[in-house]
Symmetry: C2
Subunit: 150 residues, 2 copies
């Protein structure tokens, strides 16, 4: 966990930011929500220094957001999986995506979220524009949007 910057603040935003309020951390969570699990894949996706990534992953494990799980014994290898507490951060990442798409994506959204199976777009309340269902992260798939790199 990050050191407690906001001791005096009885506020759930401040408490949430103690855990996720660091810019790389939210990008690590974005990748985890997109299915990335392994150190080298996070590293390749983010271009982050390995020692910084090691530190951020350890903090997220300590905070109960990620779980470290062995997927091979010989050689010993592990991966990082979202816990339920981690998956519950999807609304934060989705809200950041939505705002970035609206205000900071001159070429259009790099990535589009769709209601899996239904195909409707996900609106900014995380509901399906086609069928109206309130969506959880497991109900959503993502495809490249008009602003995706060529």
């Amino acid at each position: 966990m990050l050191h407690r910057m906001y001791e005096g603040q009885v506020c759930s935003v401040a408490r949430a930011l103690e855990i996720v309020g660091e810019r790389w951390t939210l990008l690590i969570l974005r990748d985890a929500l997109l299915g990335v699990r392994r150190f080298d894949d996070f590293q390749a996706s983010l271009g982050i220094a390995r020692n910084v990534l090691t530190d951020r992953l350890a903090r997220l494990v300590e905070a109960g957001v990620l779980e470290k799980r062995a997927y091979s014994e010989r050689p010993p290898r592990h991966e990082y999986r979202l816990t339920d507490k981690g998956r519950d951060l999807w609304p934060v990442v989705h809200a950041l995506v939505t705002w970035g798409d609206r205000h900071e994506a001159p070429d259009g959204p790099p990535r589009v979220f769709l209601h899996r199976g239904c195909g409707g777009a996900v609106d900014d309340h995380r509901c399906c524009e086609r069928c109206g269902a309130a969506l959880e992260v497991r109900d959503v798939e993502t495809v490249p949007g008009p602003g995706a790199p060529a």
Copy 2:
């Protein structure tokens, strides 16, 4: 604006974090959404160093999230008001509140959000639990919750 840490990332989360991805910044926005407008009120609420607050407010003005507006000519005084782009960050703050309330508020939510006029609680899709309306920030009021300081 913060320096661009994520040059290689064509991603709306990364672009959003270039602007709001600093812990104090999201707490400044929380306060602004709660109606705080004046430097001294932000300072008293946050307990942040004045030079840091000056810097963060200037970045938010530069990014078009806050607008600096004179409210007195003699003596010259100004305040910081959210722009539409700034109000559009409400879903980010709400998602952080919701997650913090669920996972980091052992005494219960310090603050509760209600549908103004209706009185229904705001669910985690920013819809009213009583009437089902999809809520914008102007539709919401906040009252102290069970976890509020005594």
